[in-house]
Symmetry: C2
Subunit: 392 residues, 2 copies
């Protein structure tokens, strides 16, 4: 209860003038990029951020790979009046677990990033203009994969003269990128931290992810992805985001919300009993929250991120065990106990397979009522674990 209240207070009311470090979004461009599926994207652009200083040997780089609804803003503030820092500010910064006095911390916006309406996101995806036609790509944009995100990041790092990483660390969809990095570029990656992660999309996860795409495809405004000069499928996108929010939280969290004055849940509410079109307050709360986020996000981009995650298997081979046998990096797995989205069994199974192939693997559980989201908002509970893993 205290946890949830603090989170809400933080989300709703915190406008603090703070002394933490400032960051700015930078832009990385590629004239041409070839996807894993063999398609070409011209004039690709993504945003990126860095915290700390690249050393002379250029070997102190920690790459942070972001989650599904996130972007490269992993830490710091954009301005003195920025209401909140990057999502992992609790563990990234001077003297923190991922210590910017030691490490040069880099993070990159994904392709098809959701935050098309966020002024601090730079991404290339279906909402972008196709330079060949001058029109928005829509569904003519090629399917992109976790491997493509990795390859774009590698191109960016290479452009900085970097040839090796100290570690790749990411939560959720970021965990997919982290483990895939170690298989795509084994010489680069000695350490991987997979937070609330998985080493592949099993059938359950593939079907669960499909649920996020369905409301968008059903919204008549979606129009097979052609809505950039018309009304966007905001309703479908809002429902998709409602699903994501619930999947990323827990019954315990919802019970706390439902017991709060603002959201108070009683099954036998008057309005839903009187009117089939009325909603329970807990549903209204989810809807309002999702609608606010939908304003910043693009519906087609959500479909493409769903597909990237569905297609994910570490190493992008056809067999996970074979992939994991090839893994040389040390791995640290931090699944969350009450994760309803990427079930902790997924990380446990990967950890076990890595150990069985004689490699070093460590696993610790995150806990708390936020479930999957403990890997973002509750990551500080394993700050020491992360710090020690990076030091060895």
């Amino acid at each position: 209860m205290i946890r949830v209240s603090s989170l809400l207070l933080c989300l709703l009311f915190t406008v603090v003038v703070h002394a933490s470090f400032k960051v700015e979004k930078q832009r990385f461009s590629m004239a041409e990029f070839t996807t894993l599926g063999g398609q070409t994207i011209k004039q690709l652009e993504v945003g990126w951020e860095a915290y700390g200083t690249l050393n002379a040997a250029k070997d102190n780089v920690v790459l942070i790979t972001h989650y599904f609804t996130g972007n490269s803003h992993a830490a710091g503030y954009y301005s003195d009046t920025d209401p909140q820092p990057g999502y992992w500010d609790a563990i990234i910064g001077p003297g923190k677990a991922i210590d910017t006095n030691k490490y040069y911390v880099v993070s990159v916006d994904s392709l098809a990033n959701l935050g098309v309406g966020d002024p601090n996101v730079i991404t290339t995806g279906p909402a972008s203009l196709n330079p060949a036609t001058g029109e928005h790509y829509g569904l003519t944009f090629p399917v992109v994969t976790i491997r493509d995100f990795v390859n774009v990041q590698q191109a960016l790092l290479s452009s900085l003269g970097i040839t090796k990483l100290h570690a790749v660390v990411g939560p959720s969809m970021g965990s997919m990128q982290a483990i895939d990095w170690a298989l795509a570029y084994p010489d680069w990656v000695p350490r991987v931290i997979s937070v609330i992660g998985t080493a592949q999309s099993d059938p359950w996860t593939t079907a669960l992810l499909e649920r996020w795409a369905i409301p968008i495809r059903l919204d008549p405004n979606w129009n097979n992805g052609n809505y950039y000069n018309a009304t966007p499928p905001t309703e479908g996108l809002t429902y998709a985001l409602m699903f994501i929010t619930q999947d990323a939280l827990t019954p315990e969290f919802f019970a706390q919300m439902g017991a709060s004055k603002a959201v108070r849940h009683a099954p036998l509410e008057e309005a839903p009993l009187a009117d089939i079109n009325a909603s329970h307050r807990i549903v209204q709360w989810l809807h309002q929250r999702a609608a606010a986020r939908a304003a910043m996000f693009d519906a087609n981009h959500l479909l493409y991120l769903v597909r990237a995650c569905q297609l994910f298997i570490a190493g992008h081979t056809d067999d996970l065990r074979t992939s994991l046998k090839r893994l040389d990096a040390k791995t640290l797995w931090l699944p969350a106990e009450d994760d309803f989205l990427l079930l902790p069994e997924l990380a446990k199974s990967a950890h076990q397979q890595v150990q069985e192939s004689g490699k070093s693997s460590e696993l610790h559980m995150l806990s708390g009522a936020m479930g999957h989201l403990e890997g973002v908002a509750g990551i500080a509970q394993h700050a020491d674990t992360i710090q020690q893993f990076l030091a060895n």
Copy 2:
């Protein structure tokens, strides 16, 4: 693996001439019925079935209350060539756990039953003609509740001269009816068996149920419920049924499906990599299964059943603990270990509250890869528990 294969074989190929008992659907009518919300339904009709013989004292009645996608066909066959029996045939019949040599077993189709297109379902709901207008009700049909299902059942039993039950037994949505019976008609109900059940819809469950309604509401053919003289929202209904199927199963079950020849799942499938509109095979499997079921079901009815379940709290009061303190019936709870729909914690919590108020309550777990569905397809694993509970 053996379990799943057998189930599939059973679902797909079994056409058996069998010696088990025959049943037929009967019809119960009420000139007028008043809902919990105070609305009137005229010329209400529901179907019902009975197995066994009502004794002279009319005190050997076991009422079976059905689950969300089910109906009153709980046991037996309609004909010699009927491919499968009622859903709980494994525990209902001569010499079985709910022994029709002893008990007169009655089951009743719910109001707003999904199976509008099923010739063996008789129900009154939004798809029915409103006798006042001669038009389909659509959303003018009043919101109905679990209590309304109970009241219709009670009226039917009363019409047979029955004034007392031996037990009420039901899975899932049926478990809601079973426990509500004991609070609505305490003099009637000495025993309640709640299978894969809950004593109320907590905020999580309310939001989870809302997901089933969303695809229907998004389908343009839904047209605010007015589709009876037009194309029905089959696509939205199909997606709703996909969600229900996944919620009622488990990652383990999906893994077994994904490993089968017919459904073989590999994340990196060719078609989904090449085409954003292609689907993974596990998604196709879910869709095909759901589309077949959608042909028999009505979309508005699904919305009304969702609402009935969302509004459920045992006793239909505003506080569960107060309700459960009034409970006089002995209760047996049979939640499923890997239930992702009605989490086993819900039944455990209700069981604990009943015990804390000094009443008799028993709890045993169902287990197996079918998760929630173990309460339907796997119920035989607790046949003895049920038999013993009914005998005492």
